[in-house]
Symmetry: none
DNA sequence: TAGTATATACAACCATTGGTTGTAAAATGT
DNA sequence: ACATTTTACAACCAATGGTTGTATATACTA
């Protein structure tokens, strides 16, 4: 399940741990797990829960975002504009708003509805 | 294991999901799990791994940090879902989002663009 | 150099939970 | 009022989060 991902974040943890000159044992004890388990995190053998990452970030005295860096795919960041609207959706809205003719607007909505219907049915068949 | 924490983040996810007007099923399918499993996340029954959170943030088109901030639920939902959209515009968005075919989407945008153009010129002439 | 302590690695094992399907109740749309 | 969507909840199972035990490096100090 997305090994690459896990590995990356584990490596990041290790990096910061070493930077703090902390042993696996020290860190593990601080967050209340065995150092062997921490090993699994660092090696990407086990998934890291958000909760654990939280603990680790506290133990290492760094913000969680630091540990996540390199995880956030570029495209997403770009795609996001404001309030959950994608660029595409924003464009859609902008264009729609430019049309001041009520009938045309309604027609467009009907058209969209039709298309959605068709796609949906085709998906089922 | 730190139930409170999990619950919070699950609730945050739910808020954002609703803000995007996405059903549990829709979101779950997007990230490749059953909607029942997503329920467990939202309810704080199961831990959320960083990996999953990553997927969710992508599906909801928001940066991971948003989900990590222990934010006031009320605000978020309103802030986003309302966002000054008229009923008509909300419908537009809903329909547009139902279309999962990228080409069709692009086609629609082009069409809209065309219409906007024409109306504009006619308005001038 | 040996000897002790520290740090990391790896295997075997078990309890928990991450994940599934099935069924039922709300909610929503027409 | 009826059909469809959406959400909730229970039962179940495989996977993994977590443990201890042992082995191998890597220091430190006498």
């Amino acid at each position: 399940m997305a090994k690459g991902f896990k590995k990356n974040i584990g490596e990041t943890i290790k990096k910061y741990r070493l930077a703090t000159r902390m042993s696996q044992m020290a860190l593990a004890e601080k967050i209340g797990i065995s150092y062997q388990q921490l090993q699994k995190y660092e090696k990407g053998i086990n998934n890291i829960s958000v909760y654990r990452l939280q603990q680790i970030s506290e133990a290492l005295r760094i913000p969680i975002s630091r540990l996540l860096e390199g995880q956030e795919p570029e495209k997403v960041a770009e795609e996001i504009s404001e309030y959950g609207l994608s660029k595409e959706e924003k464009t859609l809205l902008d264009l729609f708003r430019k049309i001041d003719n009520k009938d045309i607007k309604r027609g467009l909505l009907l058209e969209l509805k039709g298309i959605a219907e068709i796609l949906k049915k085709r998906g089922i068949d």
